[in-house]
């Protein structure tokens, strides 16, 4: 009989190891996970988690842009001054101009401001209101960038100026990033850009390398989309068994025991609607449908929550887990997303305070000296919509160079109107920066001017690819473990 055995990972398994007769004197080594310190950096995370008593919506979003410019302007001015001070173009020395509107025609100068890109294809609510007749339904597109017609402007407290020139067209810019541009004003009042500077990578804390020889991994998985259905993907249960060390031979268990922390980064709850009872949709029946337990069971399905809860509770007994919300999870939609209420996962909640934790999106960690910044992927997905390319790693790297992890907030990424501090500004560069729910797994190392080294990881959706990313805490190497059933054709 040909049994289709699930292939656990790409490790080389001796085919006779699992399917052999039991030996009499066989010993099974017990692998233990070493205790590790995994903390949240409260200096940054406290600003993401908004207390209900302090949340107000009386302020406008202008405060957020003001804060961003005030904090990032000195940083980018420093970089620009180092690059351009003393430089002369056409026998004219360039100088810094404080306000955008003080630029004089014919003078070469540099200015600092926030980029605003006027996009013609960006969905605008005012267009819908002013239209009198509906012609066709708007086609939903992936991207709203139109390089020929988009106008790039630089804005600060005094006003805006249009940026033109070939240099500016080739740069990766989105609304909301703070840059310095060098150039001069043209006769039509636009600013012809010659050169551009970003704040570049923020300072990075040195990593405390551990002296032990054991390897330590942080596992990041996103897009689990647990549905609790009968046809729940087998790969999900394989993943959890692997993380608990129950899958594969002793090699796999040993590798799994080196995982000291698991981060579930977004979209853990399935979004597919599958009502529990499929009654006939007739008016008589719908009235007779009883409300059991106080809710209409045909519209609310509690299976995803229960299934995820039991998986996380099993996992929390074995390794410390952090769950981060994604854009489809039951928490607020605007960025930063508040931690998922632990009341949704009652069995895992028992591990709250020891090995289970619900964190905000985005979130900063410090795991054994490794500083991690993680997002559920929404800022990168939003940037993707408004630029031409699709290199996700380049977008993540540029976010680090802008020193801002969500520049499109609040323009196109819904955000809370922060009043006292912009929490998305990166005051330090992390050692690991990951974004969840990306289409495919990509990773690279980014090196900064002062020797900062960051590992960028685009974590793919587990429900589509079956991949979980393991990052070595000491060497910053990223490897991926794939779970697939034989014959499903996943790589």
């Amino acid at each position: 009989m040909n049994i289709m055995a699930p292939v656990a990972s790409t490790s080389t398994l001796d085919s006779g190891y699992l399917l052999s007769d039991p030996k009499e004197d066989e010993t099974f080594p017990m692998f233990e996970r070493r205790a590790s310190s995994r903390k949240l950096i409260s200096k940054y995370n406290d600003e993401f988690v908004l207390k209900n008593t302090e949340k107000t919506y009386e302020q406008q979003y202008a405060s957020l842009y003001f804060l961003r410019l005030t904090v990032l302007k000195p940083r980018v001015s420093k970089v620009a001054a180092e690059a351009w001070n003393g430089m002369s173009i056409l026998n004219q020395e360039v100088k810094a101009v404080d306000r955008v509107l003080d630029v004089r025609q014919g003078e070469f100068c540099w200015i600092v401001g926030t980029v605003y890109i006027e996009m013609t294809l960006k969905p605008n609510i005012l267009d819908e209101i002013t239209k009198e007749f509906w012609t066709t339904a708007p086609i939903s597109k992936d991207k709203f960038a139109d390089p020929e017609n988009d106008a790039i402007m630089l804005e600060d407290e005094s006003g805006r100026v249009n940026l033109v020139g070939s240099t500016i067209k080739s740069e990766l810019l989105v609304t909301g990033c703070v840059v310095a541009v060098l150039g001069s004003e043209t006769t039509s009042g636009d600013f012809d850009v010659v050169d551009i500077r970003f704040p570049q990578l923020a300072p990075q804390l040195p990593r405390k390398m551990s002296t032990g020889h054991e390897r330590k991994y942080v596992a990041v998985v996103s897009g689990l989309e647990v549905s609790g259905d009968v046809h729940e993907s087998y790969e999900t249960s394989m993943l959890f068994e692997y993380l608990m060390g129950e899958l594969g031979g002793s090699d796999d268990s040993k590798h799994a025991s080196e995982i000291i922390h698991v981060i579930v980064a977004g979209n853990s709850f399935s979004n597919r609607r599958s009502p529990l009872s499929r009654d006939e949709e007739s008016p008589d029946n719908s009235q007779k449908r009883k409300k059991k337990y106080g809710y209409d069971s045909s519209s609310y399905n509690s299976k995803p929550t229960e299934a995820l809860d039991s998986l996380l509770a099993d996992l929390s007994a074995s390794v410390s887990v952090d769950i981060m919300p994604g854009d489809q999870d039951p928490t607020n939609y605007s960025y930063p997303q508040q931690p998922i209420n632990a009341a949704l996962v009652p069995r895992s909640r028992r591990f709250l305070g020891s090995s289970f934790r619900s964190v905000s999106n985005p979130c900063w960690w410090d795991i054994e000296g490794l500083r991690i910044l993680g997002t559920g992927g929404q800022p990168i997905d939003d940037i993707f919509k408004y630029i031409e390319g699709d290199d996700r790693l380049q977008m993540m790297e540029t976010c680090l160079r802008w020193q801002h992890c969500a520049p499109t907030a609040p323009d196109t990424l819904w955000s809370y109107p922060f009043r006292d501090c912009d929490p998305f500004i990166l005051n330090e560069t992390p050692h690991l920066f990951f974004a969840g729910n990306q289409p495919e797994f990509k990773t690279k190392i980014v090196v900064g001017e002062d020797g900062q080294r960051v590992r960028l990881v685009a974590v793919p959706k587990f429900s589509e690819t079956g991949k979980v990313v393991l990052v070595d805490v000491d060497s910053l190497a990223a490897e991926v473990v794939t779970f697939a059933l034989n014959g499903t054709g996943r790589d």
Binding site: S37, R38, K39, L40, I41, S42, K43, T56, E58, Q59, Q60, A62, S63, F66, L67, T70, V71, E157, S158, G353, R357, D366, P417, R419, D420, C421
Partner: protein, 205 residues
């Protein structure tokens, strides 16, 4: 409130509290209740001989937290030191900067509207203007100074926050907002009167 009945019934060793204390009441509320009872009866409540301080009616429901907090009150110190379990300290890495917490004087002074330093300060700020401000008859100097503070673009938007919040935000960002304005805002009138405390668009936006 009628004085509590101190029933010395031999059937139970428990001495019921005068009011029905729900099990969800916090430990401190019970302590306050005990203290208030003590003042009424003039006698200190004796610590219960049993470990359960549960009113007889509601003895069915138990929970871990209640059983833990239902120990007898031994001393005042023990009451004060009992805390509810928090996340372990080593789990949350507190990295607070050396933030200067704004220290306000305990005694809030009343505002002297006719202080000459306000006139001098206001005249200094008006030197950048070409024309004199219009429709300003009858407006006190203090109000003019505060409105000028609102309109200074360097300190950011004014909508949705009090002037003191805006001042503190500007101070935290290192923009050096004027001390004169701070003194006005922490005075007694500056904290209570809407005209001084809130921005000039208050009530309109």
């Amino acid at each position: 409130m009628a004085p509590p009945k101190r029933s010395q019934s031999s059937s139970t060793n428990k001495k019921p509290l005068a009011k029905q204390v729900r099990l969800t009441d916090s430990f401190r509320q019970r302590k306050q209740l005990a203290a208030s009872l003590q003042s009424v009866t003039g006698k200190k409540l004796q610590p219960q001989s049993t470990t359960e301080v549960i009113p007889p009616a509601a003895s069915q429901i138990t929970s871990d937290k209640v059983a833990e907090s239902a120990r007898e009150i031994e001393t005042e110190d023990e009451v004060e030191s009992q805390e509810f379990p928090e996340t372990p300290e080593e789990d949350v890495q507190r990295e607070t900067d050396e933030q200067v917490v704004p220290v306000e004087p305990d005694v809030v002074e009343p505002l002297d509207y006719d202080d000459p330093q306000y006139e001098a300060y206001f005249d200094k700020t008006q030197k950048v203007n070409i024309a004199a401000p219009i429709h300003q008859q009858g407006v006190s100097t203090v109000v003019r100074i505060l409105k000028n503070f609102d309109l200074t673009a360097a300190y950011g938007p004014t909508v949705g926050m009090t002037r003191l919040q805006r001042w503190r935000r500007a101070d935290k960002l290192g923009l050096k907002p004027p001390e004169v304005v701070y003194k006005i805002l922490i005075s007694k009138e500056g904290k209570s009167m809407d005209e001084l405390r809130e921005g000039y668009l208050y009530g309109q936006i």
